[in-house]
């Protein structure tokens, strides 16, 4: 078999953060090639380079041994490379045929719109039949299920002439049966000679459907092996790494040091019974003076759990208590009054108002308690002075004046501003969701030090992170979240391999 697509020594950084370094992959014609790795390992970045969406800073791309250079996805399409993204790029009120027509180049012979649409509809049906499923070209996208929309995406890239097909986490949104059917289709494509890259984190899919697997970790390619000859334990070890002790690990607290239960979650659920349930009976307890880390692959209910604790949305069933108070029935303002602090995953959706000043964003944390005046009077001078102190204490860089907009802060400094506000009172419960995502190493370490300090001061800290290293470094206890529940719990020192197994190998 000859190589179809080769990426060699690829380097790529975003805002100074090295996302890919020395990454490579070689995909041959006629094979299903799995690309395995944790969230943030660089799988999607590498594939976006192959699809012409990102430009690499170093390294080379070869298609059929020929070096190529892409200035955009159209250049990649010219080399017969097509990518199906995790988030579909379809126009919802348009029909299947219209969506596919949009992505096709202008035909050589002049045809009317109606003729072209009919032509596309015919080709859609033919291609779908060849792949072994049926689809109505006149159906509107918003009437289709997720699995059907995904088929439309696949048809779209195939009809645009793709012979090297990249599927980014295609089974993440599918039920087991749908996933099995999709992967069977993918195998059929490879049998006919196409090259397929399957970006995934599911060991079972890799074992069952891939001819080769390339494993990435921390932006590097760590191995390229034959899945049939490699045991699952070995794949897990390659994916999550050996977990080398970097010396920064604080001695985890033993059960004896734990305080009273602070946060109690019992059978917390969201969604209709029988239907899709993002949360499906979460049970956990976080004690005063401990960090409870939730590990797991993204999209298994972590976001919903964080929303439940912060009070961002409604509709939760079950029990969520901060000591004796049922949090589900009180407002976010009341939760904060009770001593909850939150570091949400998405700063500019749930923590900072970018258009407002640093002082306003800091002051809003203490203003409810009346520290900066009552409803008809704001003690602005005091707020500004305390903001300046907090900005200095938390080492928020790039602040010329506390009156400047918060949006002008870099990611790490914006996060430090959030921390400065959330820790301006002594919190009893801290929720930290991916608190060091997108930060450089130094800023990340500072965030971690703050969380440890909060724990040592007696707070209960719930850390939710898709970065297993972060969880292992910080948490005193680790829970693994999958399919809306905590499927396993580990005392530190936890077995990294066992956690990896629980994250990826569950039913």
């Amino acid at each position: 078999m000859t190589p179809a697509l080769t990426l060699r020594d690829i380097r790529k950084s975003f805002d100074g953060f090295l996302a890919l370094d020395n990454a490579h992959i070689a995909v041959r014609w006629g094979e299903v090639h799995a690309l395995l790795g944790e969230n943030g390992a660089g799988k999607s970045s590498l594939m976006n380079i192959a699809a012409g969406l990102y430009k690499p800073e170093a390294g080379e791309l070869l298609v059929n041994h020929n070096p190529v250079r892409f200035n955009g996805p159209r250049d990649a399409a010219r080399e017969h490379i097509g990518m199906v993204h995790q988030h579909f790029k379809l126009v919802r009120p348009f029909t299947v045929a219209q969506n596919i027509l949009l992505s096709l180049p202008e035909p050589a012979e002049p045809l009317s719109y109606r003729q072209r649409l009919a032509e596309v509809a015919r080709r859609v049906q033919a291609q779908a039949a060849a792949l072994g499923f049926a689809i109505d070209p006149q159906a509107r996208i918003d009437q289709l299920s997720i699995a059907e929309q995904q088929r439309v995406e696949i048809l779209k890239v195939l009809l645009a002439g793709a012979r090297i097909l990249i599927l980014d986490e295609p089974t993440a949104v599918l039920t087991d049966q749908e996933a099995a059917s999709l992967l069977t289709t993918v195998r059929a494509l490879a049998r006919e000679g196409a090259a397929v890259v399957l970006v995934t984190h599911k060991m079972a899919d890799v074992k069952a459907y891939a001819d080769r697997v390339t494993v990435m970790r921390g932006g590097r390619t760590v191995a390229s092996v034959d899945p049939a000859e490699t045991p699952v334990a070995e794949l897990v070890r390659l994916t999550v790494g050996e977990g080398v002790d970097d010396g920064a690990v604080a001695a985890p607290r033993r059960a004896g040091d734990r305080g009273a239960p602070m946060l109690t979650v019992r059978e917390l659920a969201l969604g209709a019974r029988g239907g899709h349930r993002p949360l499906d009976g979460v049970n956990l307890t976080v004690h005063a003076g401990e960090i409870y880390g939730i590990a797991g692959v993204g999209g298994n209910g972590q976001g919903e759990l964080a929303a439940a604790i912060m009070g961002l949305s409604r509709g939760f069933e079950g029990e969520l208590r901060l000591q004796a108070v049922n949090l589900l029935s009180v407002s976010p303002a009341r939760r904060r009054h009770l001593g909850m602090a939150a570091i949400p995953a998405d700063r500019y959706s749930h923590a900072l108002a970018g258009a407002l000043s640093i002082a306003e964003n800091f002051g809003i944390g203490l203003v409810h308690a009346g520290r900066y005046g009552f409803s008809l009077w704001l003690r602005k001078r005091r707020m500004d002075a305390e903001t300046r102190d907090a900005v200095a204490a938390f080492d928020v860089q790039g602040v010329r004046s506390v009156a400047q907009k918060a949006a002008l802060l870099s990611g790490g400094n914006a996060q430090k501003l959030v921390l400065a506000r959330e820790f301006s009172k002594q919190p009893r419960l801290v929720l930290a969701h991916s608190p060091s995502r997108g930060l450089d190493v130094r800023a990340g370490a500072e965030v971690h030090a703050r969380l440890r300090a909060a724990r040592d001061a007696g707070a209960a800290v719930l850390l939710i992170s898709e970065d297993l290293d972060e969880v292992l470094r910080l948490a005193d206890r680790v829970g693994v979240m999958a399919r809306g529940r905590i499927v396993a719990e580990f005392e530190q020192p936890a077995d990294r391999q066992a956690i990896g197994q629980a994250m990826t190998h569950h039913d």
Partner: protein, 369 residues
């Protein structure tokens, strides 16, 4: 590109104007003097276009400045008319600004004005309260009536998510038709049988205070200071800024979003209700059929041009009032229809709205490589 690397500047070649390429870039932040300059330029552009239209409509070009500036601002009587017109304009401008700050599109200013005026007039028609307190009572009742009329769409929105743009706009028609119902029925003036209420008693009219419009203007300026205090100096103002900047963030950091929206909307309705009182008691001296016409649109326009800032809203309201007064004299002297005034308003607004683009973007020439 090679020139840039070697440091030798490329000789300037002539490029035909139409083959030059430009790119648009998003501008992060513009210093406020520059922003003010862009806005001023937009207003000037709008006025120039309007001037050209007026000239085309038959106003001699030389007379424009005379009519708009000299005759309105430097003539004591016209200035009086401007201030007279200005007080209710300021009130509706403030009313719109405070609601918009809570991301609530109150298009029901006219309905709230109507109810304010109906409330005030009811006291006159049914002779409620001692004459000495009558005016004060009328003021209070107008305020409460405007507030209550704005409560209905606010509750619909906050409870059931009913779009307030539709609700407030439609409730204007309800209020307007109820007004006609009263004026053609129970409240018809027995003296003339015209469809307006009987004339107010002298003690039901706003007193002269440093000129005929002094009292109304005083109320408007107090309202301006109150709103300015609320949005700039109070804790509620900080909450309101968070609601305006991002409702999800405001909710997550513990701002009582629902309560703040309600406070802003009720204040908006109350201010509009008082505007209704100012027109009926201060200008007309009775409840008439069409006293509210145009105020709803003007209020939105004022708030928009002033970027919801209370002091700027006051200045803009007085400018719009000038435009109204000048428009009236144009009508008399040059037979220019009054709708020309609305045309000018619209042109200026479009120019200012477009200038936003230049504040947020930057046009940069792309040099050929």
């Amino acid at each position: 590109m090679t020139d840039a690397v070697s440091g030798v500047p490329a000789p300037r070649r002539f490029e035909p104007l139409f083959s030059r390429r430009y790119t648009l870039e998003i501008r992060q932040q513009m210093a406020w003097p520059q922003q003010a300059a862009v806005l001023a330029l937009a207003v000037v552009a709008g006025l120039l276009i309007s001037g050209a239209i007026l000239v085309a409509a038959g106003v001699p070009a030389g007379e424009l400045f005379q009519e708009f500036v000299v005759a309105t601002v430097f003539d004591a009587q016209s200035l009086q008319a401007v201030l007279f017109q200005g007080a209710p304009m300021i009130m509706v401008g403030l009313a719109a600004a405070i609601a918009f700050r809570a991301r609530y599109w109150n298009l029901g200013l006219e309905g709230q004005m109507i109810w304010g005026a109906i409330g005030a007039t009811a006291l006159s028609v049914y002779d409620v309260g001692p004459p000495g307190l009558r005016l004060l009572l009328m003021f209070g009742v107008a305020l409460v009536c405007g507030l209550l009329w704005s409560l209905l769409p606010a509750l619909l929105r906050l409870r059931w998510g009913v779009n307030e743009i539709i609700a407030t706009l439609m409730l204007n028609y309800v209020a307007g038709n109820f007004l006609l119902h009263l004026l053609y029925g129970a409240w018809k003036d027995p003296a003339s049988a015209f469809p307006h209420s009987p004339a107010f008693q002298p003690f039901e009219r706003l007193p002269e205070l440093l000129g005929p419009s002094g009292a109304a203007l005083g109320i408007a300026l107090v309202a301006m200071l109150g709103v300015w205090w609320l949005v700039n100096l109070s804790r509620a103002g900080l909450y309101l800024r968070f609601v305006q900047a991002s409702p999800p963030v405001a909710h997550a950091v513990g701002v009582p979003v629902t309560r703040m929206v309600l406070v802003a909307v009720l204040l908006s309705g109350a201010l509009a209700g008082v505007a209704g009182f100012l027109v009926t008691s201060g200008q007309e001296g009775r409840l008439t059929q069409a006293f509210y016409h145009g105020y709803g649109f003007s209020g939105i326009l004022i708030a928009f041009l002033a970027r919801n800032h209370p002091i700027a809203a006051t200045v803009v309201a007085l400018l719009i009032a000038t435009l109204f007064v000048a428009g009236r004299s144009l009508q008399v002297f040059y037979q220019i229809p009054f709708s020309m005034v609305q045309l000018i308003q619209a042109i200026v607004v479009i120019c200012v709205a477009s200038s936003d683009f230049f504040i947020r973007h930057r046009l940069r020439r792309v040099l050929p490589s």
